[in-house]
Point group: C2
Chain length 443, copies 2
């Protein structure tokens, strides 16, 4: 019987029983799969053992009546630092970014209050009773829809990440920026979205069979518009009206947005007010200038819709620290705009050896997958990395591979708020020193 | 080719093409499955057709810079009525309930801010740096854990509903109470929970192989304690520290709670401060008095842990109304403490005929499953019902069947806030009149 199987009344394991699968203390993921979780004595370093452990029965909160139940609950005051990082806190007349603090979160759902937002012209306060979506252009009959009429359709519910094309842009810097995972990679979030398949609405309007493109436009003052292939509309596009069970957050497109699972964030047009069916791309400002990706040599891709396979470790990561040698879990997020995550490997020795992490199922297409790898830190320096694979055969590149393809920033980058380029997806490396402090490194 | 398949450039369907599967206008769920969604012309009544539909380009929010991006976002002011219903808004010295407004929500995740809460002694403000969980009793070595040490374990993520044993208790009333779905059935919610398998912690403490019970106790002033079979701990119990991606809400057990998927809510002990391993049930106040279910004849079950298979329609439902005849979606929530939902049937004629609803996948064990059934309302009276089946072979009873087994309230019940009895799970019936107004009926 494996020492990793569930054991009632088991005694402590000594370290020699650990099933090491890769260098520097990575432990067999099978410890996590199915129901054979028990890492028992092996995890003894994580549990605060105490021969005379006694419950704390005289804490103030055990002796006093607590607070009144509110109509809407909020996080504990002790969680006050779990907030998004803002690029424009005073609302100057420029784009405002708010980044999800992934290093402080767990699981796969991003709480809606912490979903990343990018707004080019502030956050509009839209009256859903007045807002309408119009579908027109190359259709038999133009149609208009309100939040109320969309609610009458059979709605579809699915998990999906949305990621800004500029997420992780700070990683184009020639030297690694010292910033937490949420500042480096916080322009991606994951929600349960509910809405009407766009194909249903296009069919109802009677789309011209020859039409190949749509242009989707938002109702805020930025009037962001993007061209979308009709093929995507008939694949998995939704007009979303719920986010994690409730109507959309204002910064995420209230009262309705386009959801194009796996496509770059700005194409998921928020505050959606029209979809015009056309016969060629619109070549709008936002697709020819703002969201173009510059290639080495100065050319750009005309379009690069799909967000590539990617992962990053959230625990441990920059800004957190290890207090003592012992057992830890290395945990993070993986996703791919192509499909499902098929595998995540983790290294604790800077890529010299890799072990396969446990994936938390069910694994959704084009959505976050949480990976977990048990790890025994021996108190010596270590470099932690994760590498994601998807079911389309794509592999997250090493940084050197990525830089060879896409280049680095040509000007100095001093802040993770900068956008020297887009569509960055290489692995991220966290170096743990012998004090347990964590730095961002290129390895 | 089925008229329900996706059709580019299709023309309107006339009503005779609708594939009716049950009385009073229920439409084949296959319209919803896979990618063959298009209900096209059939849904014409839902889309506001307009020969000259034009985008609204001069709305105030299209002309003005919007609001500054906040560190934490909140719902639109237009969503101010999407709140929980409170039983004790002034915080009098008694139990406080807050019910989830299911009739205003979509999808399957309950936003954490709207998760139901029941607190017997207010909501404690617990300092996670001081709080600890002790596992002791029949163990080789007592252990204590903090939020920080639990965070070092390999965590498990899963969807699960939590339901109060007293949810839907108003349905024991002899006459149907006129109240929205959230008041009748709002003591159940569904979240993504992340935590440490309890089996890992028990193995680490070295549980006595002969031990059959645990007693779990909360740290708030109510000191709620419940006996839990060790078998459940080794099945799927978690010590949960994240709810929908962030640390637990204060009303839901911050900083840590027991999660016993499918077991009645109060056993999922919040503010968990100790688990004592014992050799018989504790027969605590909360399990022998407060959460006992009275049977006809006056006896009670000793224990009734598992929440039975159940469903209710959220759209349309009491408090909503149908503005005109035409196409609608009948949608609701189904779940079972035994396992996965295998089927939900829907009736629009008070149970005379039933059609099978589409289920939104993936279908999680012991978690909400959203069902959807397209429906053409002809403007005549209708009685809408849903009936859930689970993969354990259980079927949600009709109300008459339920009452025959469990009886009705023996005293008048005038409010859905009352608790005449517990573990109510029959079908709920919404009657639509010819004006489109909706009442709660027993049918």
């Amino acid at each position: 019987m494996s020492p990793w199987r569930r054991r009632r009344g088991a005694s402590s394991l000594d370290d020699s029983a650990l099933d090491i699968v890769a260098g520097n203390g990575l432990i067999d993921r099978r410890a996590l799969l199915g129901r054979g979780f028990a890492i028992a004595g092996a995890a003894g370093a994580a549990g605060m053992t105490a021969a005379a452990a006694e419950p704390l029965i005289d804490a103030p909160w055990s002796r006093e009546v607590g607070a009144v139940t509110p109509p809407v609950q909020s996080p504990s005051p002790f969680e006050k630092d779990v907030v998004r990082a803002l690029s424009n806190p005073n609302g100057e007349f420029r784009t405002s970014h708010a980044r999800t603090p992934h290093q402080l979160l767990g699981g796969t759902v991003t709480p809606s209050r912490l979903h990343f937002t990018i707004n080019h012209c502030g956050i509009p306060d839209i009256d859903p009773a007045q807002h309408k979506l119009v579908i027109h252009g190359l259709v038999r009959q133009p149609l208009e829809f309100t939040l109320e009429t969309l609610s009458r359709y059979p709605l579809v519910t699915r998990m999906a990440f949305v990621e800004c094309a500029g997420n992780s842009a700070g990683m184009f810097a020639k030297e690694p920026l010292q910033a937490p995972a949420g500042l480096l990679h916080g322009l991606v979030s994951n929600s349960e979205w509910t809405g009407v398949p766009l194909s249903v609405l296009l069919d109802e309007a009677g789309i011209d069979p020859a039409a190949k493109w749509l242009v989707a436009e938002g109702a805020d003052a930025a009037m962001l518009d993007r061209s979308v292939p009709v093929k995507k509309a008939y694949d998995d596009a939704l007009v979303a009206i719920y986010q994690n069970g409730e109507h959309l957050m204002p910064g995420n497109g209230y009262p309705m947005r386009l959801l194009l699972p796996g496509f770059q964030g700005n194409m998921n047009v928020k505050f959606l007010r029209r979809i015009k069916v056309i016969n060629q791309p619109a070549y709008s400002y936002f697709e020819t200038k703002n969201y173009s990706q510059i290639l080495p040599g100065g050319k750009t891709w005309r379009f690069h819709f799909v967000m590539d396979v990617k992962s990053f470790i959230t625990h441990p990561s920059f800004g957190l620290s290890l207090k003592e040698p012992g057992l830890y879990a290395i945990s993070g997020i993986a996703y791919s705009g192509t499909g499902r995550i098929s595998k995540v490997t983790v290294s604790a020795d800077g890529g010299k050896s890799w072990g396969e992490a446990a994936l938390q199922g069910p694994i959704h297409e084009k959505a976050f997958t949480r990976f977990v790898m048990p790890w025994r830190w021996d108190g010596q320096p270590a470099v932690l990395q994760s590498r994601a694979y998807d079911d389309g055969g794509n592999v997250q590149p090493l940084r050197a591979e990525f830089v060879a393809m896409r280049g680095e920033a040509t000007k100095p980058v001093t802040t993770p708020l900068a956008f020297p380029n887009q569509h960055y997806n290489s692995i991220t490396s966290w170096a743990v020193d012998s004090q347990g402090e964590i730095k961002h490194v290129y390895a």
